[in-house]
Symmetry: C2
Subunit: 590 residues, 2 copies
Amino acid sequence: MNDDVTELKRLVDMAAGREPADLLIVNAKVVDVFTGTVRESPVSVGRGRFLGFSHIPARETLDAGGAYLLPGLIDAHIHIESSMASPARFAELVLPCGTTTVIADPHEIANVFGADGIRYMLESGRDLPLDIRIALPSCVPAAPFEDAGAVLDAAALEAFIDDPRVSGIGEVMNFPGVIAGDPDMLTKILLGLRRNKAVDGHAPGVLGRDLDAYFVTGVSNNHEIATPEELEQNLQRGAYALLREGSAARDLAKLLPALGPAAFRRCAFCCDDRHPEDILRDGHIDNHLRQAVRLGVDPVQAVTMGTLNAAECFGLRRKGAVAPGRDADFVLVDDLHDFRPRRVYAAGRLVAEDGRVLVPLRDTPPARTEGSGRFDGGMRMAPLADDAFALRIPAGAARVIGIEPRSLVTRHEIRSVVTDGDGFFHCADNPGLCKIAVIERHRATGRLGVGLLSGYGIRGGAVATSIAHDSHNVVTAGDNDADMLLAVRALAEMDGGIVMVCGGTITGRLPLPVAGLLTTAPPAETGRTLGRMIAAAHADLAIPAEVEPFMTLSFMALPVIPSLKITARGLFDVERFAFVETAAEAPLPV
Amino acid sequence: MNDDVTELKRLVDMAAGREPADLLIVNAKVVDVFTGTVRESPVSVGRGRFLGFSHIPARETLDAGGAYLLPGLIDAHIHIESSMASPARFAELVLPCGTTTVIADPHEIANVFGADGIRYMLESGRDLPLDIRIALPSCVPAAPFEDAGAVLDAAALEAFIDDPRVSGIGEVMNFPGVIAGDPDMLTKILLGLRRNKAVDGHAPGVLGRDLDAYFVTGVSNNHEIATPEELEQNLQRGAYALLREGSAARDLAKLLPALGPAAFRRCAFCCDDRHPEDILRDGHIDNHLRQAVRLGVDPVQAVTMGTLNAAECFGLRRKGAVAPGRDADFVLVDDLHDFRPRRVYAAGRLVAEDGRVLVPLRDTPPARTEGSGRFDGGMRMAPLADDAFALRIPAGAARVIGIEPRSLVTRHEIRSVVTDGDGFFHCADNPGLCKIAVIERHRATGRLGVGLLSGYGIRGGAVATSIAHDSHNVVTAGDNDADMLLAVRALAEMDGGIVMVCGGTITGRLPLPVAGLLTTAPPAETGRTLGRMIAAAHADLAIPAEVEPFMTLSFMALPVIPSLKITARGLFDVERFAFVETAAEAPLPV
């Protein structure tokens, strides 16, 4: 007998009662996602798997005290990088929330480290009790003219596709490319389809014929659904709707009330992007369950969306339910409205209790195959000249990126500005405007774009961050060049993270030593530091309350979201899909 | 660009309206199995796939005249051999019923021809518009002591498992073996699991801890569910319930009323065994739809069970729904209660209309790798002595197989019998009893078992058939040795099929020239011949109306179903799981 057969035989022997099981849970109410019901039943566990529902001999018995027993929760689409946590630290964040499986798209770290970034996420998370499945980033870089750290073509992805922990192809966000029939995108999609793996979608606001063209390719799901109309059209086209409740986008309240009874099976839950402080405060997929029940969804249906449906979407036959042979990932909760996880089990092992992780969680990062061989911050900027951020606007009219609070979309403004005798712009002469700059940081090309920002409100200092979607170059904003220079230089010295400068003094530092995106520090500490820095940015730098100081900057460099953005190559007009000068001809006529 | 990319790009170009589609259907009501609703929408088709729901340019437009448009129906588990039809002739039977995909387990032909039998089914059906997926027979022979034509071990199955048309492992009917942890069964199960393919179940009447042990292995489904209690326990354990309505077993009326609303998604439809005359008269999966709606099931739910749910059970991502990218298999019907298929399309092509197939359907059998190189009737019997069926019962007491009308289960009777001076049994002296014999026919071993049958009622003749589950040796029954000999010799000469003899004359012949199980003759002709022979068996041979004359015999040799059966090695006591003598010690005390 080979090992697998021996292992399977042990399971059968345990389930049949010929060998003692590892664990028998009694006095539990099992949430049955297959029949949509709750029933009192013993549940047995052996070798990390559920064995069945019979009173069989077991080495250990657990009295659940009448608690509800749910399958472990599944996040159907998340970028772990948004939590700023390494895989182990992310596990520390979400295991206490009852999450035992995530489909993670390492799009951000791949933009910094390329294939090595994917390998980091795959290997670093391999031995964790959190089951991290990897969706291979399909759009690195996000746009062809971007200065990302890597270009991942289909051949690069192919090296990973057969790994059993790879769920398939990550969100195909170049939806215009797909709809236009771009062969590179289609090749990547086929790479997943041929293995019968999922190909994740990203199609915000796409409807009708364009949505037909997008899904005719075999893309499996969409997490960018924001309206009932989109929801209906996506479901009709056979896409799984991954209902999102992240730190920025919050879609449940818009979508769940519009969902017909038969369509629940086609919906799962995801966070997409969720910051550590939000997870610490409001939870993870357990938060979706609470929201859904508050919105009137039947609790068992809510659990089903957070478990079985996600497992089915990704073909994870051993996940998503309490049933013989499936992985014994489960959560004990006291009720089906608050869903507070009392105890969380992964593969049959108690891993978290009352919000605390009970097992050691260590990252086991591989060696890098490129560069230094280490997963450092990836900060490779050319030296910055003292006048790097000088901005000349000869005609006195400038394009300005207008921040829309709580939105990734910006306004494309054209404004009259006051300049000095040589035509240089100074914030002091232009209330309401500040400077923003993006500095290439992957291969020291020295590329640097400088522009103007309205609505950020910063006074008396600067902020710099190495998180800047999707290329993660350095972005800085401030009301004076000196503080901006100080912030960026401190950021380089720290090898990535977030730096805040107030009147010539560094007043806040969050180091993100992995790719300039992630930290291996305890999430609670990261959350506290970040919370303090956000408070200080509002208090000391006068950034308005409705503008999140760091995340807002991180999205100013994303040239695929309207209207005006900035990259290391300069200002980008998303509507015209072309670079433009900050110096404009003249203000728009009123 | 490689071919696949070019092909996919053409689909996208069509869906986006840049290239004309092949077909645009207007004025149809689309049954949407994702949202559980019906809506009026155009449906476009190109390159054999659905493109979408937009009015796009197309080379051909079809006005559906307000008909309902359903996804093509799926039979989740069938033995094509029960229809006595070759794959092409089976397609001729079921395409007009709206069936476009079947999961076929070639268990019967594999018992005759082994791996060649699997190859016959795979290759012969390759170019048909009916999509035949093959589940690899896991239990050949059905019992270790059986004289089947082949033994298929895990290595033999492994040769087929990666074929994309192989759905996985066929029904694991040796459920006692699985529950006992038999390594051979577990090895076969793992063969499917490792490829992420389905492993089909067969667990009649199994409950509780035994059912836990059965499903802990990863078996995916069960079509042997006969009671609401079994249904509930199977669903709870994560098994797909394949609800059966065949020629013998009819389970829908027992099960559908017991099904809770959330559990519908875990149920699909299957026939298991369905004879040609039943398909011709009552239909195939369309019959399930009619039955289900009559039993009160919502029509769209019924369609969903007959389409999407089966596709999901088997991981067929391109089947089971009308949605962009899926295979354009669909059916037009006038209403959602009769479900009479007006037109049936497979891969975008009109293949049947008003009960008639419109396209040529040809079997393309491969060459055999063994024996004659031909797929002949597989009749390899040793010559039969004239006294082959002589039966001596010295003590005047005999075990008798008691037929239970409309059941595969038999009674184990012990009866006093009258014998001649030499102790030989003659039917003429024993009203109500007849002889039954099973003759090994795969390798001319000369093995031959003779026994007694009650309830068959035959007078003045004999019947012989080469269909005898599961080993398909020859079985004959008659009230005199001469007619039995004549029937079996005629059967050998015909190279398999069914023969009926009345008073020394052959009065009926159904040749089954492939494996002694299948014919390539038109199904209507087969159905007519069979109908005439059944009528004659009742009229001329006095077989009671409640006993199907041929099928009844075919199951007398199946030694895994209680209580007393007969094989070429003699009488088999299923309860004791041991061979027994026909001559008994004495009748049971009354």
